[in-house]
């Protein structure tokens, strides 16, 4: 019985690792491409903001959301001809490695997909993929993620593309 639990635990660990690898591989793929903007924020950055005293409940929510984050990675470009292809490939790679689809938005300008990785009922990674006419954007936000607070965070972190996170809030409100 103990062996079974060990095998199961190892299995889950490997699945989690495989998920993480899929996104990491995607980021590594474009790391040396000069057409892409690459952003990486470490957990230390988020930790430092935990010492700030909030002025009101809105600020409290923003700081709560920040304090539980462990990192942020972004790759983005707005000058590729094959952006649709890049979008399709990225979605295929990420969703094929165990991420759950959270929301999809399609309009005349761009397609976007939000995917999550969840363990024990806690979302530990939010991946956003956006494909436009010439633009392509992937963001991975990891740590402990509260979807209801994350859209407020997007206003604080003026990172290109993060404005799409407001769609999560709208989707929550429609439920």
């Amino acid at each position: 019985m103990k062996t079974l639990f060990t095998i199961l635990a190892l299995g889950f660990a490997l699945i989690a690792q495989a998920q993480n690898d899929a996104v990491t591989k995607l980021f590594n793929e474009y790391y040396n491409d000069e057409n892409f903007t690459k952003i990486s924020v470490s957990s230390k950055m988020f930790e430092l903001f935990t010492e700030i005293k909030p002025g009101d409940t809105d600020e409290q929510e923003i700081l709560d959301a920040i304090s539980k984050l462990k990192g942020l990675k972004v790759i983005a470009t707005d000058s590729v001809a094959n952006s649709k292809q890049l979008y399709t490939n990225a979605v295929k790679k990420i969703s094929g490695s165990g991420y759950e689809e959270l929301m999809e938005v399609k309009d005349a300008q761009e397609d976007m997909k939000f995917m999550i990785s969840e363990q024990n009922g806690i979302i530990n990674e939010l991946v956003m993929v956006v494909g436009g006419k010439k633009s392509f954007f992937v963001m991975s936000l990891y740590g402990e993620i509260d979807l209801t607070k994350i859209s407020k965070l997007s206003k604080s972190m003026n990172v290109k593309g993060m404005e799409y996170l407001k769609n999560l809030d709208e989707s929550e409100n429609k439920k």
Partner: protein, 170 residues
């Protein structure tokens, strides 16, 4: 006793005010700067033309900031990398890195009682160094966006240019 206490206070205060990276100072001293600005809480509040309370709250925990615009013709990317490495050797950690076709930015931070940050930015012909002792209240940013967009702040980076154009606001 009073003398010792006063001396101790002055030493602590002086250490706090000068608690800024010697690596940045050395780098700045070895390169030509086209703009150098030093901010203290009082001078930071001065750029807040409309006396926006949120801004004053946001910068409340900032004790000192230094800004340098360097002649990027004289600064090579490898020199900037060497500056980052030197800061890391002195205890700073890389907190954010952004590399893009237009601009490269690195934010390094030192965790201590009063945290310190160094922002190294290179955009085309412009190379900038920003060093901050203290922390910016990031939660205030959403409320501040409108105020920034409505021009309620002094554009300190373009003051010199405006003056040269004769279009400075009086």
């Amino acid at each position: 006793m009073r003398f010792i206490l006063t001396l101790a206070f002055l030493l602590i205060f002086s250490a706090l005010v000068n608690a800024q990276s010697s690596a940045v100072t050395e780098f700045k001293d070895n390169h030509e700067t086209s703009l150098a600005m030093y901010f203290y809480p009082s001078t930071l509040r001065m750029i807040n033309l409309n006396q926006n309370l949120e801004f004053n709250e946001m910068i409340r925990e900032i004790k000192k900031a230094r800004f340098f615009r360097l002649d990027s013709g004289a600064v090579t990317p490898s020199e900037l990398s060497a500056l980052s490495e030197s800061l890391i050797k002195s205890g700073y950690e890389e907190m954010m890195v952004m590399k893009s076709p237009d601009i490269d930015i690195a934010v390094l931070g030192l965790e201590k009682h009063i945290p310190e940050f160094v922002v190294i930015s290179r955009k085309g012909d412009e190379c900038m160094l920003l060093e901050v002792a203290g922390i910016l209240n990031i939660a205030k940013i959403p409320k501040l966006m409108d105020a920034f967009n409505n021009g309620g702040f002094l554009d300190v980076l373009n003051l010199k240019n405006k003056k040269n154009d004769g279009s400075a606001d009086h």
